[in-house]
Amino acid sequence: MTSMIGQRKSRFRLNRLDGILMVGLVAAAGWMWYRSAIGVAYRWDWPQALSTVFATGDAGETPFFLTGIYATLRLSLWGAVLASILGVLIGVGRYAGGRTLRMFCGTYIQILRNIPPLVFIFIFYFFISSQLMPLLGLDALFSRPAEEASGWQRFLFGPPALWENLVSGVLCISFISAAYIAEVVRAGLAAIPRGQWEAGESLGIPVLDRYRFVIFPQALARIAPPLTGQYISLVKDSSIVSLISVQELTFVGSEIANSSGLLFEVWLLVAFVYFLLCLSLSILLRQVERRMTRHFHQFA
């Protein structure tokens, strides 16, 4: 396997393409500046934008924008936890279940991965709010007086007034993400050679131990890289629950943008925050992944 293009030069040397691209970039930047400053006459006001965004409330509450960031973090964390649990269950069910179970898990994966997340969220939100909440008795839980929530509960789950809001968001994104994780898990399990199962069986290692000591550790090494990608997707996908009024970063951003009129600055800022979040998460997860799979030289 050799590439026909791309014999990389190791020395730093600019060629003709570099020149063309640089001229193009400068031209594009110039054009953008011209359009924004003269064409649409937008008056950038970063100081104003930053002070609006980070302004504390009258009674010294956390700035609205920051509550949005925290909410996105909580949403992502609990979403990832629930999605992982569901995803592993569905993935194992798809791989090792009986005929019926396999079929149900397969259908779940197939449908959730093939309809737009937005459509799923709208359907599911209506379903949750009209059915699931009353059914699980969650509405009773959430209508408790707010004073009962302890400090750590507030830290983990945010202000009690928004718990129901948070649960809707978590359920929505974890149900979607679970389908993708399940597929990753199934593929990881399917990639383990049959001989590994047979060796475990012929040695008389009990079934659950076979999973625990022989199969899962190996599957994990294969699953880890795509799983990392799924967690980052989950953080990104969490932005669409703003459309069912879950008060996370995107929702908060759009409130602030609309009320302040500083559309350009606020949206760029929101994008920047997501960028930082996802980038640091991917760096962090890559470290974890590397540490976890240190012993798997043969798969590296």
């Binding site: 050799t2 970039l25 064409g39 259908t107 737009p116």
Partner: protein, 265 residues
């Protein structure tokens, strides 16, 4: 008759289509029963009007079908743009140009680390006004910019796996560089990439529903508007989901078949 069910394509159709459809049907039924418990009145009979209307014996597309056409139109246009962006990015990444590689890298990181919805908002509220783009242009550009980042990986993989022997064989036969690309290299690259590219099309159709937030009258928007008018929430959402599912599953099946054919060849 029994033999029919042994045929590979029948079994494939069964597992790809009929089975999920049957189970989805069961789930919908469960939801319906559940909804009846909260006094939801089902009015499925009203849904066909939203698909097709007939006036004086002439059939016309209802709002949902119109929406589907808009969805397909946007998907097709952004698919074309996606291919251009994806190929350009892949070539830049494989090029010897420092600026080009940096540019491609930056673009990829930017797209991969921000949500599609935020990209859409930034394009719609910031870039669109600056460049004087309308909604449709913004939507297409946004979807293509997003998908292009992922498609470029496919192109990159495709371009990297051309065996040098093929290039040399073409050269040694005295083909011009252009003819070599046109008749020897590209056909091979394209054949390898067709299945994954079909999956990109599936992604595009799926992701296109997000442009409903900037008031484009696609399938999702039409659904939302109809619900606002009629309050037939479940009926309409389930119909919309079924339409999306039909389109994406049809494309996935095509991709799987192309893949199998390539593997078999």
């Amino acid at each position: 008759m029994i033999g029919l069910f042994r045929r590979p394509w029948v079994r494939r159709a069964l597992s790809n289509w009929i089975q999920p459809a049957a189970i989805a049907g069961i789930l919908v039924f469960a939801v319906m029963r559940g909804a009846e418990n909260i006094n939801y009145r089902w009015q499925w009979y009203r849904v066909d009007d939203f698909l097709f209307t007939s006036e004086n014996g002439a059939w016309a597309a209802g709002p949902l079908v119109q929406g589907l056409f808009v969805t397909l139109e946007i998907s097709v246009l952004s698919l074309i743009l996606t291919l251009v962006i994806g190929l350009a990015t892949a070539l830049l990444r494989l090029s010897s140009s420092v600026v080009g590689r940096g540019l491609a890298r930056g673009y990829l990181e930017l797209i991969r680390n921000t949500p599609l919805l935020i990209q859409l908002y930034v394009m719609y509220f910031v870039l669109g006004p600056i460049l004087g783009w309308g909604q449709t242009t913004t939507a297409i550009a946004c979807l293509a910019a997003f998908q292009g980042a992922y498609t470029s990986e496919i192109f990159r993989a495709g371009l990297r796996t051309i065996p040098r022997g093929q290039v040399e064989a073409g050269d040694s036969l005295g083909l011009t560089r252009l003819d070599n690309y046109r008749y020897v290299i590209l056909p091979q690259v394209l054949r390898n990439m067709l299945p994954p590219l079909t999956n990109e099309a599936v992604s595009l159709v799926k992701n296109s529903s997000i442009v409903s937030v900037i008031a484009i009258f696609d399938l999702t928007t039409q659904g939302r508007n109809l619900i606002a008018d009629t309050f037939l929430t479940f009926e309409i959402w389930l119909t919309v989901a079924a339409i999306y599912l039909a389109v994406t599953l049809a494309l996935s099946t095509a991709a799987a078949m192309a893949e199998r054919r390539r593997a078999g060849a």
